[in-house]
């Protein structure tokens, strides 16, 4: 009995232990499956000269209003059986989201689940999303500025704005945007090309264009202009 109890205690501690989100070592940040789950307490910035590599099966819990600002090379390599998951530690609270600004470094994200974020953004970057699920985010993914973003077999569900296009090109292949409030939101002046046959069953509308909405309301000034004034006056 004296041996069993400490062993049981050790087993419990190991089973419920969480690993803090690691910092860079030798310009690499590697999240390993054997050390999962990880917790990100605050914010994490990946500098341009560093790389982020996440192994299959890794779970990251985001507390408070954590944000992942990724400027370096990104390779998230989940598998269909062992996806990588980014979730909020407290399911009643949002975390800030992923901000991909990798510049000329092409990011590769496979088999990732992103839940409960406020806004996931792709800015000044190109890359591949393959079998990525965006679930229950406010802005599932915002393509703010992306010369080329490829989506293969991705799923957007239960988001407020599943997919927002500001500037850039999105190439959709077998991508499901279903059961969100708004499917695709195309900002005024933005272009969207891709197969939209799988964009359906969204609560308000499947594809909403800001320019149409503005014309129907007799408005000429887009949200982006208002926001720019607010930020830049």
């Amino acid at each position: 009995m004296k041996i069993v109890l400490p062993l049981l205690l050790c087993a419990c501690i190991t089973a419920f232990a969480v690993t803090p989100f690691p910092s860079s070592s030798g310009h690499k940040v590697i999240l390993k499956a054997k050390k999962s789950p990880y917790i990100l307490e605050n914010n994490f910035v990946l500098p341009p000269e560093d790389s982020l590599i996440i192994e299959a099966g890794v779970e990251v819990y985001m507390s408070g209003y954590a944000k992942l600002l990724l400027r370096g090379a990104v390779k998230i390599d989940g598998t269909p059986k062992k996806p990588v998951a980014f979730r909020s530690a407290d399911s009643s609270e949002n975390w800030s989201g992923i901000y991909l600004a990798t510049d000329s470094r092409y990011f590769v994200i496979r088999n990732l689940i992103v839940e409960n974020a406020f806004r996931n953004t792709v800015a000044n970057s190109s890359g591949l999303f393959e079998k990525v699920r965006f679930v229950n985010n406010y802005y599932g993914l915002w393509l703010e500025d992306s010369p080329k973003a490829e989506f293969m077999d991705c799923h957007f569900s239960r988001n407020r704005f599943a997919f927002t296009v500001g500037k850039g090109k999105a190439n959709f292949r077998k991508t499901y945007i279903q059961n969100n409030v708004f499917g695709i939101y195309v900002e005024k002046g933005a272009d969207f090309t891709g197969d939209t046959t799988l964009v359906k069953n969204n609560l308000e509308t499947d594809i909403r264009r800001e320019s149409d909405e503005m014309a129907s309301q007799g408005r000429r000034i887009s949200r982006k202009v208002w926001n720019r004034i607010e930020a830049g006056f």
Partner: protein, 282 residues
């Protein structure tokens, strides 16, 4: 003899009124300050189409407008003082209350959350010139269209004269606001000492402040410019002995020209009024 005595007393009286004070921020041994900072922004489209008689006006469409309000409690702490008289300060955002009729409630909450996470450091000279205004955490840098407290805070920050001044004296300074992504803004400020008085045992200088600047914000998606200067005026009550702002207000007005590169549509001019106020709580 009586005349001389009278003239002498008049001279002494005038001399007392002409007392000079040295105005300087306490950058060496400040125990920390807490400020309530408010910003109200109103933007109105100067839309000729919405004038009476025009089609859109007949349809009952009002000119487009936006109102936003931000109230924050800021606490600043001196973290290092240097031999050249400058000091390094750390500014924390203790609480935020934000609303706008252009954003959703979820967006209010998001903005309140990230503003609360904004912690920035700056170096300040005794005259109030700020430099190295950097975010503590890169992840707190606002995304496109998000708010940045630093910009508004610098706008209301006075720059003090290097020499002692008396009532009626004026001086001018220019302040550089270094934004992220290399965006820079020069703010020209003009000051006048309006009054020197004691209130509740605190020696205060009332400083009139006028500001002018030309906003210029351009990127691939569009630009925001102004043909004329944006003008502002207000006043600052400065605690002379403690070397800190007691309270201040600034009303800023401008007419902006926004261009959206994607749409190639000429947008109406936008009239902007911003009301800033700062008050030291402790």
């Amino acid at each position: 003899m009586k005349r001389i005595a009278l003239l002498l007393s008049l001279f002494l009286f005038a001399a007392c009124n002409e007392q000079k004070v040295t105005l300087a921020f306490n950058t060496q041994n400040s125990s920390g300050n807490v400020f309530a900072f408010d910003s109200k922004l109103r933007v109105l489209a100067d839309d000729q189409n919405a004038l009476p008689g025009k089609d859109s006006a007949k349809k009952g469409l009002a000119p487009e407008a936006m109102n936003a309000r931000l109230s924050v409690i800021l606490s600043s702490k001196l973290i290092d003082s240097y031999d050249d008289g400058t000091g390094r300060f750390l500014m924390n955002v203790d609480s935020v209350d934000y609303s706008s009729d252009n954003r959703s409630v979820e967006e209010f909450e998001h903005i309140e959350h990230y503003l609360k996470a904004q912690t920035f450091q700056f170096k300040m000279a005794p005259d109030g010139q700020m430099s190295s205004l950097k975010m503590e955490d890169l992840a707190s840098i606002p995304d496109a269209g998000d708010l940045d407290i630093r910009r508004n805070f610098i706008k209301i920050q006075p720059v003090l004269p290097s020499a002692p001044v008396r009532i009626g004296d004026t001086w001018e300074r220019q302040q550089l606001v270094d934004g992220d992504s290399g965006k820079r803004l020069f703010v020209y400020k003009w000051f006048k000492i309006e009054d020197l008085f004691v209130r509740n045992g605190v020696r205060l200088a009332k400083i009139q402040m006028n500001v002018k600047y030309k906003p210029h914000d351009a990127d691939d998606t569009g630009s925001l410019t102004s043909d004329d200067f944006v003008l502002g005026s207000g006043s600052i009550l400065f605690d002379v002995d403690a070397g800190m702002i007691q309270e201040g207000t600034l009303e800023v007005d401008g007419k902006l020209c926004a261009v959206e590169n994607k749409g190639a549509e000429v947008l109406p001019r936008l009239r902007v009024h911003q009301s800033l106020s700062i008050r030291r709580i402790r």
